[in-house]
Symmetry: C2
Amino acid sequence: MPARGEQDDVVQDIIEEPATYGDAILSSDDEVYTKFSERPLTQFYQPSQKRASFESLPNRERHEEFIRKSVEILLKDAVFEGTSRNNRVLQWTCPEELSRLMEFGLKNGPSTHEELLEILKKVVNYSVKTGHPYFVNQLFSSLDPYGLVAQWATDALNPSVYTYEVSPVFILMEEVVLKEMRSIVGFEAGRGDGIFCPGGSIANGYAISCARYKFQPDIKRKGLHSLPRLVLFTSEDAHYSIKKLSSFLGIGTDNVYLIRTDDRGRMDVTHLIGQIERSLSEGAAPFMVSATAGTTVIGAFDPLNEIASVCEKYKLWLHVDAAWGGGALVSGKHKSLLKGIERADSVTWNPHKLLTAPQQCSTLLLRHEGILAAAHSTNAAYLFQKDKSYDTKFDTGDKHIQCGRRADVLKFWFMWKAKGTSGLEKHINKVFENAAYFADSIRNREGFEMVIDQPECTNVCFWYIPESLRSCKQDSDYKERLHKVAPKIKERMMKEGSMMVTYQAQKQHPNFFRIVFQNSGLDKADMIHFVEEIERLGKDL
Amino acid sequence: MPARGEQDDVVQDIIEEPATYGDAILSSDDEVYTKFSERPLTQFYQPSQKRASFESLPNRERHEEFIRKSVEILLKDAVFEGTSRNNRVLQWTCPEELSRLMEFGLKNGPSTHEELLEILKKVVNYSVKTGHPYFVNQLFSSLDPYGLVAQWATDALNPSVYTYEVSPVFILMEEVVLKEMRSIVGFEAGRGDGIFCPGGSIANGYAISCARYKFQPDIKRKGLHSLPRLVLFTSEDAHYSIKKLSSFLGIGTDNVYLIRTDDRGRMDVTHLIGQIERSLSEGAAPFMVSATAGTTVIGAFDPLNEIASVCEKYKLWLHVDAAWGGGALVSGKHKSLLKGIERADSVTWNPHKLLTAPQQCSTLLLRHEGILAAAHSTNAAYLFQKDKSYDTKFDTGDKHIQCGRRADVLKFWFMWKAKGTSGLEKHINKVFENAAYFADSIRNREGFEMVIDQPECTNVCFWYIPESLRSCKQDSDYKERLHKVAPKIKERMMKEGSMMVTYQAQKQHPNFFRIVFQNSGLDKADMIHFVEEIERLGKDL
């Protein structure tokens, strides 16, 4: 903590005089001029030399020019140049170097607006441009212009979504969007329930919480300590959040039984039945299957109809983690990938992934009404008063485990208003076309090898094999040598800042690349660029 | 779900031709002109009549003017006029009316930019202005101008904070801010650990998770089913999230033992000891006390030093929920309210409350290194590769239960850079002064009665007693009649939009107002305004 009472405070005190809203002007040698009449007028119009005020209330005279200048920096450096193919995805600096360049340290006295604008430029400069067309590293990318405007609006309104009185627009908007999403999932007449969550992991946690509440409502009051051992099932390729949240919820990672996947990464239903039977024979209490629609690495879709039938037979809650693949539901062409999802009890679907809503926009959708509130509500008197002047069914906050909560709905609703359902569909069709084109481009190209020959989603996994390795496939150290190729190419692309794509090992496979497409601003030429760029970076290895 | 294949699509398809970046121009009767040469040039400069494009990539020609016009609306309607004392805090509409006015429904075809700008205006118009000086309704308020700029920057960069490679700036920034906050809490040399969380409730959940992991690390794998009954303790005035998250974590609400509070709302340590002994006598396993520094309603600070000594004696984890009161730590004048907090194992502190960082900015701070990761990590191979080109200790995402995660740090760091620690201190001192002035103003004023005579924090609880009730204090129905006063005044202020302050009942007390001060742009005249406004609204009741 910086020492208090430095000389800076004197300056700050002077400029807080209500009469000097124009703030003190500092000359280059930091001398303070408090009497405006002593200075030529032009110096008063260097607002960037104003010191920041401590008050938390915007004031046109004090802040307007600073905010406008900040917006100019953001529009230029982040929004337009940051997403231009002419510029880099990132400017690589190692952690030690970045610490020096960014001057993260906090001090006692205030900064001038000019200093803050410089800081802002640096923040943008050294940040990765996740909206850049060549950022294909994660299950999110893009900088949707309509989503961005809506985020900025959300920030300018700074809401917290728990009661109608505080967030009237966002409370009603959430209900409309969630109902529309349930309709698209195929829940009858869009009925059911839903919430916006801070990420798909926590959405999956809510699903587990609802499933076990349905299994045994006493859990809410009594907890798990006196119950039989609860067991849930998910595939070995499922997202790690199923294990992580099972642990957080007190179920324990050992009680997540992992089901084998087939050669295309889909849950093996025979093995699922065997594991359910195993849990029963152990005297445990199976209560839930979490299927995946679009696995994190391979992009596989579990056979939902078959799994739904198993769940019906054994009376298990069916959750579908469609955080990644859910976006395909808006496309007439691709929604069959999720056949059977309408039989799910709950669905995780993140519009911030395939549909490129800004971070974060995650939902949990339920076929059942009332369980979310029954499982989670505590009826806090200070927030959810029942004697309000409006119908308090609109105070929906108590079904969440969050209290204060950002309005993550506006960005997605606004994008949907902008593009229409038909626009969302075009977006999905385009990114699937791009992924197919990329896969076609490398499938028979020398030096490339597919991990899964026919990817189902828009993530494509492949190896790049440098020339030096192509004739060594029979060598005993081939896999070991191939394992080192992707990290090396990744290091080179990071240092050049030319693109970002991730890699990993899985099961028996040495490190391979996983390229991911969500950005519908990309086209076929970009797909060819990626192929050639990886060749350029790796050919001499 | 809207039907697909409407005529709109034709328009959309035409304007997607790469050659017509200027987009189609629609005449007022919606006729489509696709050949630019047929129209006078001026019509091309009506960009607001452009239809929204479906691509998720910003493009200057398509989007710049739309984004700029949007910013103008936000600056005028939300940032400056929305926080002006000359304007209303809200424009009240009941849910049914608002549904009609806002046209929330989604359609198949795209909107024009002009339509989107109108929609944006409506969103702002019907939203509550939480940055307005007269919004004193919740434990958050204000629209900090530096925080706002930093939020807009976060959105323009759209990061997800889990690895250094994707979020280099924000990963390092988080470590600096969390260390500084630990120093202020008083953890030795700022050592320990910490995370940004999506709200204080989930931060409290993390604390419970860490506490039980320390008590029994096997819980992560094995869960709670075979363990003795875990019990934790918090005061009856603590935030409801302790119960809610205990339930979510599988502990159960019955196993949160509520400790009585004294007449100023502080935890009764004698009762705490009694309840710990009770749990032991029941054969349960007490593992944690959650003390509160700044209770939600009364603003009370539990006696942390006494509680810390009890925790040491019984070997219990001490968590301090300072979500609300933590901000007082930056003030030399007020930090003694939290004496003993440096003995805590974990602390929840939300800079979005007293320090007015934008929603959301919540932290959990720990005195212990390593427990967060030990309790929560699952080492996903696809994200946390160990063979990267940099030191992967900077890939901190695995200690969170979230996977994708917004960068909530920038807004607070940027505010801190702007104001300096001294500015944060001035802010805190000002809001405490305001609260004291408000309390002084009503303490001996006819028609007002304090619930707690000497509030410790900046929330002040009081009754307003209309003239008609002042002589009826001995009547048997006095409390019943007083109970109806606050809801009625609240309804009137909502409908006029003149201010927003919340009310509630508690224990034996009929409904009382709780006014909350965080906005350092307020001054003494505003305090008097609140008093007089409540009198104006309620005097005839």
